[in-house]
Amino acid sequence: MSVVAPGELRRFAEAFAPLVECGGVTHGAVRACATPAEAAGWLALVLREQQAQRVLAASRPELAAVVALLRRELDSLTVIDPSAPPSLQQMAELDAGLGGADLLVAESASLILTRSLHEPWALSLLPRVHLVVTEAGRIVPRLADALSRLPAGDFTMITGPSRTADVEKTLVVPAHGPAQLFVAILP
């Protein structure tokens, strides 16, 4: 991955902030973390605040250091075994899913995830809290830059927590998906 201009991280954070605001309540945050220890410390705090007990983590390599540190603080953190994927019911009973992102789009604060056995789609879909650990080098300025880098195959682009405005056009977070979205960005 190419080295990202520092301004892109700021742009990502600026675009992210309004996405998690709804009716005076904040539904997530983004944080640039200098080390895996800082990211793990912050996410542990977030999980305690969210009263999230049951947490499942993707088995992505870039998450390994943070997950190892988090495990010391959380009893119920498990990591996905790609050879024995969890059932939907198991995923639905989780409080939080900890995953990654293949690319990040600065202009819209979007996370792009490609299909992977190491992170089933349901991990970023069914649990109430969605945690993301990723690297600044994956940030691209615009969607067009991301589209030109993405490999063939399914992908999903996530921009903020799940929302709806179907009752009198009033914004409500969440609808059917995650209510909270926290993104830790490592150098």
Binding site: L147, T156, T159
Partner: protein
């Protein structure tokens, strides 16, 4: 539906006070959010121009791109089906579900499945299909149909939704949108996990990669696409685009136009490779007839953002149901005469449900000239050709010496109206006759306003004359509260020539 029947529906809608408030609130908010999101964007005009070019290119290459999409979707393992009409589309979806032993389905919001009335067909075959988009869930619970392309429950107030939920779901009454959304989330959770099949539409189909693109905010579509073992999408054949890179401009304009968001919360791009097993039903349903018509082909560029509904003063006032079509608003009035969303005969008069103000064209993210197409639709209706293309198009129905309108059967308009417009066209296309008639009209009006003596200064437009009997006879009640303006003694052209001569300049002969 004849023009008279449409007018009756519109009158009834305008007279219904319960309709005005929800629609006004929703469309005004929709417009404001769209404008704010565009104002924050540095390159709206460029992105819109790109999106327009992409969609118009796709429509021109429809057959080629459609074939490429099918090839690539199938190569990855997906199944494609062709549905000529609504009946066939429903039969295909039911067959796929039955062959897989699917008894229950979760549905993503999809106008194509509304268009073919899929829910009714599934119900008849004993398949339990539940709408999972909050607005669609509400509308299905109420036994209604969507009143807006992107906001299906726009016509209901929070109080009505609260009473509906209390009635049908057995929960305590609340009119708090947060509570109502939480109730729907709880009600649908287990359905998502246990459904045999997911059914959706598609916002776009990428030819190059054989992928479906779906935009949403709630995450229910992601569930329909990924949780069940079977996924069936129903999409109009016009949804195809050439390349994945085309998503750049299209995703820049679509969410902003639809909801004023910089980006939809979830954009899913899925190909034919499972799991789940994926099927795409490509729906014609009248689209090929539009494609065969060079004047109307650009209607197919539409990406169903719904901005033209929010912009339309007629939609805001009469609401989504008065049109009688699955697709309301300006775009629906263009699809209707081709039998899309409504029976073709019934939809023929829909181009009249517009003020032709042009607000829809101003907001359209893919540059469709809606007011011109609506005007042209009226012309065809009056000529009696409905949605069917004329053998040849002259580009301008009134210009030239084409007075064929007088000979064509007048299906909707009165004979007198047709005669009047024919006379108008006859006079306007003959300059000398026009000047004679205009001069005569001026003389009559000057007499009517009591200034026929010719004593006033040239070019003067004085009025405030006492009301004459001739004026009263000509314009009746209009002069009760105001006076009829006096036309100038000379025509603009004559006055111009006079001044040019006076200024001593030469000008080419007229």
């Amino acid at each position: 539906m004849s023009l008279a029947a449409l007018r009756a529906r519109i009158r009834a809608a305008v007279a219904d006070p319960a309709l005005a408030r929800p629609y006004e609130n929703a469309t005004a908010r929709g417009r404001a959010r769209r404008e704010q999101s565009i104002a924050r964007m540095p390159d709206w005009a460029e992105q819109r121009a790109s999106a327009t070019a992409i969609r118009h290119e796709a429509v021109e290459r429809l057959d080629e791109l459609g074939a490429a999409f099918e090839r690539n979707f199938a190569a990855a393992g997906g199944c494609t089906w062709h549905a000529a009409d609504a009946t066939e589309a429903c039969r295909i979806v039911v067959t796929i579900l039955q062959e897989h032993g699917a008894r229950s389905a979760i549905k993503a919001k999809s106008m194509a499945t509304e268009e073919v009335h899929l829910n009714a067909a599934l119900q008849r075959c004993g398949i339990d299909a539940i709408e999972t988009d909050l607005g669609e869930f509400i509308v299905q619970l109420a036994g209604q149909t969507p009143s807006h392309i992107t906001a299906p429950a726009i016509h209901l107030t929070r109080q009505q939704i609260g009473r509906l939920f209390a009635d049908k779901l057995g929960v305590a009454y609340t009119d708090d949108p947060v509570e109502l959304t939480a109730i729907a989330r709880r009600a649908l959770r287990q359905r998502f996990l246990g459904a045999d099949a997911g059914i959706s539409g598609a916002n776009l189909l990428i030819a190059e990669t054989g992928e479906l693109v779906l935009l949403e905010n709630e995450a229910n579509i992601r569930m329909c696409l990924t949780l069940p073992r079977l996924h069936v999408a129903v999409a109009g054949i016009e949804k195809v685009i050439a390349r994945r890179a085309d998503l750049g401009p299209l995703l820049a304009v679509l969410p902003r136009s639809a909801t004023g968001q910089e980006m939809g919360t979830y954009v899913s791009v899925v190909g034919g490779a499972g799991p789940p097993e994926r099927h795409v039903v490509l729906l014609d349903g009248g689209r090929r007839r539009i494609h065969a018509d060079p004047v109307r082909r650009e209607i197919l560029a539409c990406i169903r953002c719904g901005a033209c509904l929010n912009a339309c003063p007629v939609y805001e006032r009469i609401g989504g149901y008065a049109y009688g079509s699955v697709y309301p608003g300006p775009i629906g009035s263009l699809l209707g005469p081709h039998g899309i969303g409504i029976d073709a005969a019934a939809g023929a008069a829909l181009p009249f449900a517009s003020s032709l103000c042009g607000a829809c064209r101003d907001v359209c993210p893919v540059g469709i000239d809606l007011p011109e197409l609506l005007r042209e639709g009226r012309e065809r209706y009056v000529r009696g050709s409905g949605g069917v293309a004329r053998g040849h198009t002259d580009g301008d129905g009134v210009g030239g010496r084409d007075t064929s309108g007088a000979q064509a059967p007048a299906a909707g308009a009165g004979r007198l109206e047709v005669l009047g417009w024919s006379a108008w066209a006859f006079v306007l296309s003959r300059p000398r006759l026009f000047h004679f008639v205009a001069g005569a009209g001026r003389a009559i009006l000057r007499r009517a306003t009591g200034s026929g003596g010719g004593t006033r200064a040239a070019g003067g437009s004085g009025n405030a004359r006492p009301r004459s009997r001739l004026a009263a006879a000509l314009v009746g009640g209009w002069t009760l509260g105001r006076s009829l303006p006096t036309p100038a003694r000379r025509s603009f052209l004559k006055e111009w020539e006079r001044r040019e001569r006076a200024a001593g300049t030469r000008r080419p002969a007229a």
